[in-house]
Amino acid sequence: MKPMKLSDLGNTRWTLDNGLSTDPVPVDTYNSPEFFERMREKVFRKTWLWTGKRVDEIPNPGDYFLEETEITATSVIIVRGLDGNIRGFHNTCMHRGTQLVFDSYGSVKGKFTCIYHGWAYGLNGKNVLVTEQEMFFNVDKMNKNLKPVAVDVWNGFIFFNLDPEPRDSLQEHIGPELLNRYDDFPFEDTTVFVSYRGDLDCSWPVLRDSQIDGYHLKFLHHRSAPNFMVSKEGTNRHAYDFKLMGKHSYGSFFGNREMMSADISQFMPVASAASRVGQTMASDTTGKRDPTEWPKGINTARTKDWFFDILYVYPNMHFIFLSSQTYVAHKMMPGKTFDKSIWTARYFAPLSHAKADTLAARWGQEYMKYSIRDLWREDGYTTFGAQRSIDSGVFTQMYLQDQEIMIRHADNVLRQAVDGRTGVGK
């Protein structure tokens, strides 16, 4: 296949092609406590949510992590059982409600024991010990097993659903198009290398929108990614494709390979040295491996002039694919109230990269970590001002261009889930 060019797109307008409204998008969902309450019940208590974790992080029976969700005030233990299966339980001793574990990661030998009165539970949630049992009343009638939480896995990513009886399976939630599109990406070779978390003073939709457009790269990231998206052939374009896949969406974005792999050793000798010894943001990913051989769902334009793909998995998971084997996955969660949110940004790469067996390679990895850390700080910064503008009442609607279609679609999907109807004009 011939690599695609931006100029091949002609007069394409994805918003029109997908039958979406072109009207401004109202931001009333971004600062309404009432909408937030409904969103808690209809979305965050009912939908499959990504934990931020992969199966390789809890490889052995008894390995666990804690999934604390502010909007639902829940704490869930996600643990690998003796049979190798991963399960979820509310982190709540059935005696007096004390939390069983307190650490974000850990490992237990076969059971969880409550620090308060010593009640214990197997890795399958079954109560195995009530201390001083003979002094209790009607022990047989007590509901003393841990309360289960639905947990399932897609491509090694661990999801949970707080609905005691989820209305769909995780496979159904992901949907056939996504299942197929990413079934040959080598996720199973990857693990988390870098993870940062910010507790931000902005609403969850503001945070969500901050990672589903490519429009801002040329401007907000002009220092971190200088001229990476500047194109000679279409000054108004920076995207090759968008696809709306049920509740989820995908976009693929131009990168100026000449700029990205330019010799920067004269004016950025450290960045240059780091990219020689390790993977960095500007690593020559499309030069290292011919894009025609890439996994089928990534860089579908099959071009070397490619920077990244975005995949938004509704509601809280945002992928940024950076090469045929590395990616960032963002976990975006609401906080306790409508104007708080929690952003966890994680960089994943093949575990073989972790076996950095030289100091130079380790140094290159650390450089990558700091540079991506600072780039994410740029992304986070815009959210505060936007929230203030919305809260002031001055800012009531957004004008979205065609290449911001993922935001328009995400707004529709959220309104549909919460209020059963999409936004104005659609």
């Binding site: 090694g156 940062y196 978390r197 220092r223 000798p269 030289t358 140094w363 600072d374 910064y381």
Partner: protein
């Protein structure tokens, strides 16, 4: 850092910058962001000049010691100094500023790898793709 530790003898000219070699990413970033551009520039210029030599030294030291984890304390200190240099270089080469212009405050953006929980993270083990393996 261990006050007794020095840099390898051939890098004694960098000794005046050893205060940058703080033991965590957060401390090093905070030092960078609290420094003036002049101080960062002095550190940067001194380190850039020695960069090829440092990488060469790493190669020799780990070959002699039998691996990157077994290198001598002087080399370890030089490595930490290099981490501070990597962070500080962003101020010179990217941001043209000690902190990140148009960025959220550094202390608000927390590295999970410095948390107590992360230290208890079990060692990673991959699960090769196998359609029969269910995680239900």
């Amino acid at each position: 850092m261990n006050a007794a530790a020095n840099l390898p003898a051939s890098f004694s000219d960098l000794e005046e910058f050893v205060a940058w070699a703080l033991p965590s990413e957060t401390l090093r970033r905070q030092k960078r962001e609290a420094s003036t551009m002049e101080d960062i520039r002095r550190f940067y210029d001194a380190m850039v000049a020695r960069l090829p030599g440092v990488l060469e030294h790493f190669k020799t030291a780990e070959a002699r010691a039998g691996g990157p984890d077994q290198v001598d304390d002087q080399t370890k200190l030089l490595f930490t100094l290099m981490l501070a240099f990597a962070d500080a270089s962003l101020s010179i080469e990217v941001h043209k500023s000690p902190a990140v212009p148009d960025g959220i405050p550094g202390d608000m953006w927390k590295p999970e790898h410095e948390t107590a929980g992360w230290k208890q993270k079990p060692p990673v083990r991959l699960f090769p793709k196998n359609p029969k393996a269910s995680h239900k």
